[in-house]
């Protein structure tokens, strides 16, 4: 099953997002080895050249690094992964807040509602 990709956005950008999310989620733990470009391309259902481009870009931002002969590895810099996690979560929250404001809820309403819903889920 290939990855779900939005046809209106550049493929390599979405590959970066997906792999970054997997790193944050610990599917690829810090310091671990990434599958080969070909394997990743196969799983994602994309062209290996595009996957290569995505990984090169992630190398440029130091989220992954390559070791000449043995392949690509996830960064061991935990604070970097943590920062990314916060960044990703903040983006999602911003998006969520915008949607809530669109339907006319104030920040206080939203926070109240979040507490209420999460209480209900606990039960």
């Amino acid at each position: 099953m290939s990855w779900k990709l939005n046809p209106d956005r550049p493929v390599y950008v979405q590959l970066i997002e997906r792999i970054t999310t997997d790193i944050i989620a610990g599917i690829y733990p810090p310091g671990s080895k990434l599958p080969s470009v070909r394997d990743l391309a196969q799983t994602a259902g994309v062209n290996p050249n595009t996957m290569q481009k995505a990984l090169s870009e992630m190398e440029r931002t130091n989220l992954v690094y390559s070791q000449r002969t043995s392949g690509r590895f996830i960064t061991e810099d935990l604070s970097m992964i943590d920062d990314l996690k916060t960044e990703l979560a903040s983006e999602q929250i911003k998006e969520f807040l915008e949607k809530m404001e669109k339907i006319g809820l104030s920040k206080e309403d939203i926070i109240g509602l979040i507490n209420k819903v999460s209480e209900e889920e606990k039960k």
């Binding site: 290939s2 046809p7 209106d8 956005r9 196969q42 994309v46 062209n47 290996p48 050249n49």
Partner: protein, 232 residues
């Protein structure tokens, strides 16, 4: 040399009808390229020219620096729009046939793909459905280790599941110096595996760009752009 195909002022006329009008085009090695255009835009004419099945009216075409001929057929693997295989032959016969014809044919790759697609090598083509015949033909073409694969409408007749398998086979098998030229109308099915696309219309190249550049610049998929550009 990094280009596998070069066209300079390439022109083809059928009587009064101009099918290709002074096309300049070059394709890089190691790319998967979609050749897209409405019906009658010149896609098949271009593919036939590069396989030496047609001769240019004007201009030149070079495959790996050579005019189409015996030497270029050695490195070009071609899937025509229509089948040319003998209906009475068994798949295993066809594989032997291709082995004799092409030095770069990989027999084990072919049998492997047949197995994945549940095709019995002892079946004759005449007993197969249209889709299965197309799969056999594509397996034969993709089992060569060619420098240029030329696929004219490769997935039109097969079901979506087999289409996925075929596309992943293409991704998995193609080596990084090989170029694959795919002519198709099923753009949304293939656009994730393409590097570049060529839009062709009325014998002219309208555009040649990468899928990601198009999506970035226009904010839409290649499929949507095609529908917009070639709106009837």
């Amino acid at each position: 040399m990094s280009t596998i195909l070069d066209c300079r002022g390439l022109t083809k006329r059928y009587g009064n009808k101009l099918a290709l009008d002074h096309i300049d085009l070059s394709l890089d090695r190691g790319k998967i390229i979609g050749l897209l255009g409405p019906n009658g835009s010149g896609k098949t004419t271009l593919i036939k020219l590069l396989n030496g099945l047609l001769v240019p009216t004007e201009g030149e075409i070079f495959v790996d620096g050579k005019a189409p001929g015996v030497e270029t057929k050695r490195i070009v693997s071609y899937l025509p729009e229509r089948t040319y295989l003998n209906r009475w032959m068994r798949v295993s016969d066809l594989i032997s046939y291709f082995c004799d014809f092409y030095e770069d044919f990989d027999r084990s790759r072919a049998y492997d793909m047949l197995q994945k697609l549940n095709i019995n090598p002892n079946d004759r083509l005449s007993t197969m459905s249209k889709g299965t015949k197309e799969k056999v033909q594509l397996i034969l073409v993709m089992s060569r280790r060619a420098s240029l694969y030329c696929l004219d409408e490769p997935i039109a007749g097969v079901d979506p599941a087999a289409r996925d398998y075929i596309l992943s086979t293409i991704i998995n098998n193609y080596d990084e110096n090989a170029t694959i030229l795919i002519s198709t109308h099923l753009i949304s099915d293939v656009e994730n595996i393409l590097d570049d696309v060529i839009f062709i219309q009325n014998g002219h190249i309208r555009m040649q760009d990468s899928v990601d550049n198009i999506r970035m610049a226009k904010g839409v998929s290649v499929d949507s752009l095609f529908r917009e550009v070639f709106k009837c």
